[in-house]
Subunit: 239 residues, 2 copies
């Protein structure tokens, strides 16, 4: 059904040394296809090539195979996502705890606005073996988060290893985003922001409380009553 798509315009062959131009056009066509169809199955080498006004195997001059093309698309998305989150965190730099919250909401909002791209990023098949540039980008994203957590630890709002705290925070925001995308029929609040904000606060509060609780190691898992006691200490220390 999509096999009948025709070229948007005629292409003039790139001159030697300017092959990067086609690479750019291919990437653009791939992103456009994703956005239009809202379905990653529409991302076909043939469709991308046709849309670019070029024959299918021409793509192979610029990308090793289909997964390399997808990886390149993902890199673009990673960069955008990283920029959006960092911007949100820095916009509330005066209160690091609130900065984290804004970063989290920005992350989730981005995911919900670009569900197909987000699927590609986070729900693609896990690459076997070597840590390619894509893993590098994901690690960079985690690094941003860790750097945003560190001021909170320094200020005494959070306790524990900043990287582990960042991991749990990332898991929370990813969970919200992925769950809304994958199960839209769940009884979500009318305004998605309500859910995102509540989730971000839950994560922040829980992390703060847990850090306090863990700072005095216990033998067994604490009871609910012990949780309450730890909370009192936390609140008192923050006054």
């Amino acid at each position: 059904m999509s096999g009948t798509e025709r070229a948007v315009r005629a292409r003039t062959r790139a001159r030697p040394g300017e092959g990067q131009l086609l690479r750019e056009e291919i990437l653009l066509a791939a992103q456009t296809l994703l956005d239009e169809a809202g379905d990653e199955s529409a991302l076909t080498l043939r469709a991308v090539a046709t849309r670019t006004g070029v024959s299918t195997p021409a793509v192979y001059r610029h990308f090793a195979d289909k997964s390399a093309l997808i990886a390149a698309v993902c890199m673009r998305v990673w960069e955008t996502l990283g920029a959006v989150v960092r911007e949100a965190i820095e916009a509330a730099a005066d209160d690091p705890f609130q900065g984290l919250r804004h970063g989290a909401v920005a992350y989730m909002r981005f995911g919900l606005q670009h569900p197909v791209q987000y699927r590609l990023l986070m729900m693609g098949a896990p690459r076997p073996g070597e840590p390619g540039p894509q893993q590098e980008a994901a690690m960079a994203c985690l690094r941003y988060l860790t750097e945003a957590v560190e001021p909170c630890v320094a200020a005494g709002v959070l306790r524990g290893d900043p990287q582990q705290i960042a991991l749990r925070a990332l898991a929370t925001v990813h969970g919200c985003t992925a769950l809304v995308i994958a199960h839209p029929y769940f009884p979500w609040p009318q305004d998605p922001d309500d859910f995102l904000d509540a989730a971000a606060r839950t994560s922040g509060l829980g992390t703060a409380a847990l850090g306090w609780l863990e700072s005095e190691p216990r033998e067994a898992a604490p009871t609910t009553a012990q949780y309450a006691e730890a909370f009192r200490d936390w609140a008192a220390a923050l006054r």
Copy 2:
């Protein structure tokens, strides 16, 4: 490369009225293929048919198309996952707050032990339109969680709409599971259970604290200092 797989054994044709036998064997073969390959791309109609000792179109006598076969596999997984979680929750029924924690850990453990199946469940393409049996199963899973949250609300440990609380809890456990599966190279703790348990506690504590905080509505987002004050109230009320 996988096209050369041969039948495991010769099949004797089912007698009229016993076609369900083949359906069962097909489902089994599909699950085996997933487990062996650890990759959902190995789940091919041809591979399933060959493994079952039958021609490819024979599958269509029992499943409308490939997605119907996948959906049937998912239903099996949903049932197992639901049973595992419910069992864990009921094992700690005396302290509902701890019951939730155990349910969460059980959920995540299941996902990490069956990553391919979990991907199929939660990361499949979102079905358009009508709420099929698969959405029904997901809703049932959410219902279990909601029922586990309700005693906590009744006991005063948590506050708010049980369903919304359950949604946030599900988002948290899903986020942990999905993130570990999709990004195994992240600096996770050596023992996965450490992460799972910390995440479950974080979510529980955060939800409890947030519920307390939200019970007296505010105009703007609370500051970090206000969070601390709310914590003190929570701890006092739980004594």
